[in-house]
Amino acid sequence: MIVYLLCFVLFLTGLYGVITRRNLVKIVISLSIMEFSLFLFLALIGYVEGGTVPIVDPADTGAVYVDPLPQAMVLTAIVIGLATTAMLMAVIIRVYRKYKTMDIREIKNLRG
């Protein structure tokens, strides 16, 4: 149970970063931390005590396998996370070229 709680604390750390930071790069970092905690939570609920890697050995019947369903979902989500992070970085580069700052409060004041 302590593992779930620590995983939740990691999520809250990312949320804290998104709310309080004003630098755009820091916000993206906090978003990816929230993403990581979510992946870890999904992998945690799939774990079975004493289970093995979910690869079937035809000779070995009766082996206990770890749950493959959450792993399959996380596998695709990680690659999507890379693509969305790269897209956010592209947005940040454009914003920096236009306003010469990464502070969201100053960008809001400029309104150009």
């Binding site: 593992v3 990691l10 992998a43 609920i45 770890v66 399959a72």
Partner: protein
């Protein structure tokens, strides 16, 4: 098992806190990788080598892209003077944390204990998977056979993200 995971998770939380509070953006980006590579070790402990392979390569490429962006623009975190409306943010954060902990308490009642049995739905996948799909790797079998629609959707999201990046970063049109 649970102890090892807890130690790595505490290290990840410390790395995340440092990444959020670092003065230099480059060190913030690099200490964000503590969380990513710690996640790789967690996946290996949780018997998920597929995820570990993907995560270690994805983390490296994310680091390359982020460092390139940070070096291209400014590295300094702008001096943050005390915010007159800062207490609004702090109060909102405290309220959100209390509400989320309440929902965690409600939800943890229906959650199994750590490492105790599989989901009801996954039992069917594990039992007949190798015979039904012919694939020895159960994760691949789930991705491309039982849940093919999911994979198609995720691939579409990937294409959309690439098209969005191309549209954002274009300065002059193609001739």
């Amino acid at each position: 098992m649970e102890l090892a995971l807890s130690v790595i998770l505490v290290l990840m939380i410390l790395g995340a806190l440092f990444a959020i509070h670092a003065k230099d953006l480059l060190s913030a980006v690099i200490s964000c990788s503590i969380v990513g590579y710690g996640l790789v070790i967690c996946f290996l402990l949780l018997k998920a080598p597929d995820l570990a392979i993907v995560q270690i390569v994805v983390e490296t490429i994310t680091l390359v892209i982020m460092v390139a962006v940070v070096l291209d623009s400014t590295r300094q975190e702008p001096f943050t003077r005390p915010d007159p409306q800062g207490w609004v943010n702090i109060a909102a954060a405290i309220i959100i944390v209390v509400v989320l902990f309440f929902f965690l308490k409600v939800a943890s009642g229906s959650l199994d204990h750590f490492g105790r049995g599989t989901l009801r739905m996954a039992q069917h996948y594990i039992e007949g998977a190798a015979a039904k799909t012919g694939s020895a790797n159960l994760v691949t079998g789930v991705i491309f056979d039982f849940r093919g629609y999911d994979t198609l959707g995720e691939a579409t999201v990937l294409v959309t993200a690439v098209l969005g990046t191309l549209a954002i970063l274009r300065i002059k049109g193609k001739k």
